[in-house]
C-alpha cells in the first residue's frame, strides 16, 4: 500500500442532519466529519447506523436540512455531480448493454471531451475485462460485474468514487482479488474513495482510514489511521488489536 502524502480535505461534513421517513439507512443529526483527499476511507458500523445515508449525502443524493450540509471543494453539495460517482452492491450494470457498452455509457453525455475508444480499451485492460468486452452482464461473474462498474466509473474520470458494499455479494477469494484490484487502481489514479462495508478485515486491508459509526443517529466511535505498513500484515499486533477493538465496538 502506498503511503499518502499531505492529505487535504475532499469533503467537509458540517452539522449534517438527514431524516428518513421511508428510505433505507439510519438518520444523521448534527453530524460532522472530514474526508481527506486521495485516501481510501472505509465506513464501518452496524446496520442502520447511517453509513449508507452518509455515503448518499457525500454523493449529493440526499441533502441535509437546516443549516448543515456537505462541502465538496468548498461548496455545499446540492445534488449529484459527475465528479462524484457511486458504485452499488448490485444493479450497477444495464442488462441490455455489453461490458463495453456499459463502460462507454457515459460517453454520449459528455460534450466533446468524453473518453475515446482507446481510453475505454485501456480501462477494460486495466480491470482485466478486455476479453469479455462483448459479453452481457448476465454472462459475467459477480466479480466481473463489479469490475465493469468500477471501469465505467473510472473512465468518466471522477474525482471521488463512493462504493456501497461493492464486494459483499462476492465469495472470499474473489473479494480478495477485488481488494488487490482496488488498491492497484488507487495507486494508479490516486482517487479519493469512500467505501461502506460490513467486513472489518476488508476495511483494514483496503482503507487508509477506517471510521466506525455507531448508534442512530450516527456518531463516530472509532476514527483510525490504517495507512501504516503494519496494517498490511493481517497477523501484526497492530492489525489484530484494531480488529478486536472494532469488533468490541460493533458487536
Amino acid at each position: 500500500m502506498l503511503m499518502k502524502t499531505d492529505p487535504v480535505t475532499a469533503f467537509r461534513i458540517e452539522q449534517l442532519t438527514v431524516d428518513y421517513d421511508t428510505n433505507d439507512g439510519g438518520p444523521l443529526r448534527d453530524f460532522s466529519l472530514s474526508i481527506r483527499q486521495g485516501e481510501i476511507t472505509c465506513l464501518l458500523g452496524p446496520s442502520g447506523c447511517g453509513k449508507t445515508t452518509l455515503l448518499k449525502a457525500l454523493g449529493g443524493f440526499v441533502i441535509g436540512r437546516d443549516s448543515g450540509g456537505v462541502l465538496f471543494e468548498g461548496r455545499y453539495l446540492n445534488g449529484p455531480t459527475p465528479n462524484i460517482v457511486m458504485i452499488f452492491q448490485e444493479n450497477n450494470l444495464f442488462p441490455w448493454l455489453t461490458v463495453r457498452g456499459n463502460v462507454a455509457f457515459g460517453v454520449k453525455f459528455k460534450r466533446g471531451n468524453g473518453p475515446s475508444d482507446p481510453a475505454i480499451d485501456a480501462m477494460l485492460q486495466t480491470v482485466g475485462l478486455d476479453e469479455a468486452a462483448d459479453r452481457y452482464p448476465h454472462q459475467l461473474s459477480g466479480g466481473m460485474r463489479q469490475r465493469t462498474a468500477i471501469a465505467r466509473a473510472l473512465v468518466s474520470a471522477p474525482q471521488v468514487l463512493l462504493l456501497d458494499e461493492p464486494f459483499s455479494a462476492l465469495d472470499v477469494s474473489l473479494r480478495r482479488r477485488m481488494h488487490t484490484l482496488m488498491l492497484d487502481l488507487w495507486e494508479k489514479t490516486g482517487k479519493t474513495m469512500v467505501m461502506v462495508t460490513h467486513n472489518i478485515e476488508e476495511a483494514l486491508k483496503v482503507g487508509h482510514r477506517v471510521i466506525v459509526l455507531g448508534d442512530s443517529p450516527a456518531r463516530v466511535l472509532i476514527d483510525a489511521d490504517t495507512s501504516s505498513d503494519a496494517m498490511n500484515d493481517r497477523y501484526s499486533s497492530e492489525f489484530l488489536q484494531l480488529q478486536q477493538r472494532i469488533e468490541d465496538v460493533i458487536y
Binding site: 457511486m86 444493479n91 454520449k108 453525455f109 468518466s156
Partner: protein, 262 residues
C-alpha cells in the same frame, strides 16, 4: 428412476403429429359423407372450392384475393397495436413523472379500460365511417389501456440504481428517459403486447365483420351471408394459422431482440 433427456425437437414432433391427427380425423369424417361434412367441410373440400375461384373472394369487382385480405387484416392489427404501443409508453411516462397527470388521467383510464373493444364499434363507425380507421381504432382500444398500465408498472420496477448511475455519468432527465427508462421497460411492455395480440386479433376480425370489403373477418361474414361453409371454414383456418404464426414471430422478436430482464 432417472429421467431420460428429451430431444429439443420432441415438442415440435408431438405438436405436428397432433395437428396431423386432427386433420386426418376431419378428412375421414368428411369423406364418409356425414352431416358433419356439410357443417365442417374438410380441408380438401374447402381448399378445392377456394382454388376454383383462383383464391379470389367476393362478388364481381368487389372481389379481393386472399393475400389482399390477409394484408388488409395485418395492416389494421399492426397499425392499431403499434399506435397503442407508442401511445401507452408516452402515457405511462407522463403518469410516472407527473402527479397531476396521474390524478387527472388515472380515473379516465380506469373508467374506459373495462369497456370491451367491440362496444366501441358503433361509435367508431359514426366517427370514422366503414373503413380501415374503424378497425385500427377498435384494435387500439383493445390494447391501449392494458399497455398503459403495464408501462406504468414496468417504470416503477426499474431499480433506482439505474437512474442514479445514469445521472452520475452526466445524463439529464430526457437522456435518462431515452437511454435507461425506455430500454428497461421495452421487453416487459412488448411481452404484454404479445399476450394481448390474441385480443387485438379478435377485435380486428369483429371490426371487419361489420362491413369492410376485405380482411379475414370479411371472408367469414361473406361465407355466412352466402351460406357458403367452405368460405367460412377457409376463413377460420387462415385466421388460426396466421394468428399462430404471428404469435410465434412476436415471441421470436421478444427472445432475440428484447431478451433482457431488469
Amino acid at each position: 428412476m432417472k429421467k431420460r433427456p428429451t430431444s429439443r425437437f420432441a415438442p415440435l414432433i408431438v405438436g405436428a403429429l397432433s395437428v396431423a391427427a386432427l386433420l386426418g380425423a376431419w378428412e375421414l369424417a368428411g369423406l364418409q359423407g356425414s352431416m358433419l361434412a356439410s357443417v365442417l367441410p374438410p380441408p380438401s373440400q374447402f381448399l378445392r372450392s377456394i382454388a376454383q375461384s383462383n383464391f379470389r373472394i367476393g362478388l364481381g369487382s368487389q372481389a379481393a384475393t386472399v393475400t389482399q385480405s390477409l394484408l388488409a387484416t395485418f395492416l389494421r392489427v399492426f397499425a392499431g397495436m403499434g399506435i397503442a404501443f407508442v401511445a401507452a409508453i408516452f402515457t405511462g411516462a407522463l403518469l410516472s413523472v407527473s402527479r397531476f397527470a396521474t390524478w387527472s388521467l388515472s380515473p379516465i383510464l380506469q373508467l374506459l379500460a373495462p369497456i370491451a373493444p367491440i362496444a366501441w364499434i358503433p361509435t367508431a363507425i359514426v366517427v370514422f365511417g366503414i373503413n380501415d380507421f374503424t378497425a385500427i381504432f377498435i384494435v387500439f382500444m383493445g390494447v391501449y389501456f392494458i399497455l398503459t398500465l403495464a408501462t406504468l408498472a414496468e417504470i416503477r420496477r426499474i431499480p433506482p440504481e439505474f437512474q442514479t448511475v445514469a445521472g452520475n455519468l452526466g445524463a439529464n432527465t430526457l437522456q435518462r428517459w431515452i437511454w435507461v427508462t425506455l430500454p428497461a421497460i421495452l421487453p416487459g411492455v412488448f411481452l404484454l403486447l404479445r399476450t394481448n395480440f390474441i385480443a387485438a386479433w379478435m377485435a380486428v376480425l369483429v371490426a371487419e365483420m361489420v362491413g369492410l370489403r376485405d380482411g379475414l373477418g370479411a371472408i367469414i361474414m361473406m361465407g355466412r351471408n352466402l351460406f357458403n361453409n367452405d368460405l367460412v371454414m377457409f376463413g377460420m383456418v387462415v385466421i388460426g394459422i396466421t394468428g399462430f404464426v404471428v404469435d410465434r414471430v412476436l415471441q421470436l422478436i421478444g427472445q432475440r431482440v428484447l431478451w433482457w430482464r431488469v
